[in-house]
């Protein structure tokens, strides 16, 4: 079955991203397909590569980046939500005249249409948030 995953909160502050990660891993283990993981609202903050969590804590961004690499996942960060909150890739940074970007490997920035598409193309959409 094809699952779409929606993550609405940032890392560490809410359990949402952790729960979504455990769910996604379990779905993959059961042989399901993950159509897309879409990051919205504060969820876009999962996609920063500048996070430096304590050594004895999980690294949420790395977890997603590695899972994406292993399973060829499509991790999409909503561009409008990301701009509000300061998550940029190189081309967004250039367009906005910013001197740095912070998107993590394995994540890509795209439009809200990708969320609608996830709803259309997936058999199930599962949302995690506050």
């Amino acid at each position: 079955m094809k699952f779409g995953i929606l993550i609405n909160e940032g890392p560490y502050t809410h359990q949402a991203s952790d729960s979504a990660y455990q769910f996604t891993k379990a779905a993959l283990e059961k042989g399901h397909e993950i159509y897309r993981v879409f990051f919205y609202h504060d969820g876009v903050n999962n996609g920063t590569r500048l996070s430096v969590p304590p050594q004895d804590e999980r690294n949420i961004q790395n977890n997603w980046t590695e899972l994406a690499e292993q399973h060829d996942l499509d991790l999409v960060v909503c561009v409008a939500a990301a701009q509000r909150r300061g998550i940029l890739d190189e081309s967004e940074a250039k367009r906005a005249g910013k001197d740095a970007d912070n998107i993590a490997p394995g994540f890509r920035i795209s439009g809200l249409g990708q969320l609608i598409e996830t709803g259309i193309e997936s058999d199930r959409v599962v949302a995690f948030g506050d």
Partner: protein, 102 residues
Amino acid sequence: MPILHTVNKSPFEKSTFKSCLDHARPGDAVLLIEDGVYAATKGTAAAGLIAARNGDLALYALGADLAARGISEKSVIEGISVVDYGGFVDLVAEHDVSQAWL
């Protein structure tokens, strides 16, 4: 079409659990995750909410979230099934639509 409802907040902190039960149809499933699992414990001020729908709804709680919060399986209200993340995935697959009560 039966819906899988997920609730992730304590019934003492937020009204999402109550609103979910108020809007769930007989035959729907409710899965308690994260802080939502506190609603699954015996003897609380919220236990009446469960009791009123225990029977016409299928009730589940995520085992990993129960364990994290120090809730032993014997503290879980009878009629609530404890599932793991794989069971969560199965519930999503078995129901046509999932609704997260955020």
